[in-house]
Symmetry: C2
């Protein structure tokens, strides 16, 4: 009742382990078609399954890529992980997803866990632009690592991200084109590179005295807080750019409860274009990341020689997705 090994298959087919391996692993070596057929048949009949640990030990590769995301509670990161999984699977691999619970200590632990020869490469969406650096650098010295969607200083490796500055410009141009000029930013999580870049791009474009509401984290609840604050204090505002979709969701629902019509009095935009946005009322204008292209690039870099992963940031072009939350003034 013990699981059949390659040896058993070879014996059943009347060939050596080497030949059986050549057939089943698809090594580029010619094998007599008749023997190949016998091996295939024997494997099928015995219900043979490759022992993954043995192959990994011998070949030194696992066919598995790991990714550590800040939090799966944020649907954007679920979408991101999904895009990566698609690409990895298309390449015949497997993706293992870990959640860092928005905590650099947990993040370091997760990276450490994945490192023990379990993965061929690691993708990290760093929790913090500063504090995540050391753990990533340590990992990058032992395994190929590529940062994704966010960067971290001192990481020692390349980052594949969105061009947040261009994205902010797209949003502001869109709003200004609609005649909205008193624009506020609701930003969160300045510790992350994406949070910081979006804030910086906004203040650079609109001036340092433009209205900003800063929040600790990318959550729906934070969005509600922002909504309350804007409804009460910032009554002159006619548009709000949110630094993340989850913020926009909370914001819009709170504004509406406070009898502030969206987009009637205030136009609202999100950031990340998560799927839930289409289902809201009103659907929210947002920025779409070219996740497929980014995933493809990240995986290419992961498999490239180490010298192509020098510490730097590659930025991908964002795309504006217009929905009714920024309809022209009613």
């Amino acid at each position: 009742m013990t699981a059949p090994r390659l040896l058993d298959v070879a014996a059943a087919a009347g060939v050596s382990r080497a030949t059986a391996s050549r057939v089943l692993a698809g090594t580029p070596r010619n094998v007599d078609p008749e023997l190949a057929r016998r091996v295939e048949e024997a494997a099928q009949r015995l219900g043979y399954r490759l022992n993954h640990s043995a192959r990994a030990l011998r070949t030194g590769t696992t066919g598995t890529i790991g990714v550590v995301v800040p939090s799966l509670a944020n649907p954007y990161f679920v979408q991101l992980a999904d895009a990566l999984a698609q690409q990895v699977r298309a390449a015949g691999g497997q993706l293992v997803v870990s959640d860092a619970a928005n905590d650099t200590a947990v993040e370091a632990e997760q990276i450490e866990t994945l490192l023990g020869g379990r993965v061929d490469g690691l993708l990290v969406v760093p929790v913090s632009a500063g504090a995540s650096g050391p753990a990533v650098r340590a990992a990058a010295e032992r395994t190929p690592v590529v940062l994704f969607d966010r960067w971290a200083t001192g990481s020692g490796t390349v980052a594949v991200t969105l061009d947040n500055t261009a994205a902010m410009r797209l949003l502001l141009d869109h709003l200004e084109g609609l005649g909205r000029h008193r624009i506020a930013l609701v930003a969160a999580d300045q510790a992350s590179s994406s949070g910081a870049e979006r804030l910086a791009a906004f203040t650079e474009a609109r001036g340092a005295d433009a209205t900003t509401v800063l929040l600790p984290s990318f959550t729906t609840d934070a969005g509600r807080t922002a909504g309350r604050r804007i409804a009460e204090r910032h009554t002159g505002i006619d548009a709000v750019v949110c630094g993340a979709d989850v913020l926009a969701v909370g914001l819009v629902s709170t504004l509406q409860r406070s009898a502030v019509p969206v987009p009637g009095r205030i136009a609202v935009t999100g950031f990340d274009d998560t799927e839930m946005l289409e289902l809201l009322d009103p659907p929210i204008t947002s920025i779409r990341h070219p996740l497929t292209a980014m995933a493809e690039r990240a995986l290419t870099l992961l498999q490239a020689p180490a010298r192509e992963r020098t510490e730097r940031v590659e930025r991908f072009a964002p795309q504006l997705v217009v929905r009714s939350s920024t309809d022209a003034d009613a």
Copy 2:
């Protein structure tokens, strides 16, 4: 520059591989404290990392548990995976999460992938009560498998689920206690055991001619459809029980848009108690699963001898969480 092996650590510490292994793997065998110290020190200094494949090959265990969930797009399953991850990590293991994209074919493929000696055991939240059975049974013949949150017929293994009938009773008693008697059910995904059980429990309690709105899938969008249908056709209704939180979210927003006050005219309940419910307006009454206890039980069963995993369903008691969506009539 090649990674240090146990052999290198042993040599550096001046002991044999066996002793180094005893120290680093923590085998319950006495080792001279001085030698142990030298091994620890050498491992530290060389930056030694255990080769996971080698250990897995030798010991036949990987320390990894896999879980296949229907869809991570549903926040409930994210929460569920998180609860499992906590338990697994507490036991010193690692959890690998796979997404079946609500498709039994993908599900079978994911199970197959995880099976190749990569995991010590498998947890499955089956997509379908009927169609998921064969793939699960095939897996269960090769590795310990426990179903979680849903069951599947012909799976050949045990399922750890919620007592959906008791849950439905809790909801109905609560609503009736508030004087709401014209109750409709919005149900989805009858292919899943949870969807089917909730519908069955409702019709049994309320009679076969009670109003039900059946939808194909557990998504927010489906909830919106239901909302539209209820606002238009079922005007006599004073309460709606939704078979899942994501349905309730869509339903409530649509009802409100149609000028049907919640809970003013219609009380609404969800099912699964996902975190987002607290953040909505109004917060939605729901059923909480004892996920921690369920996760603990599932993992215990996974490690138990096969004979304890005979095909059956273990049901855990639900808990009613009351929020303002079922406030007393205004």
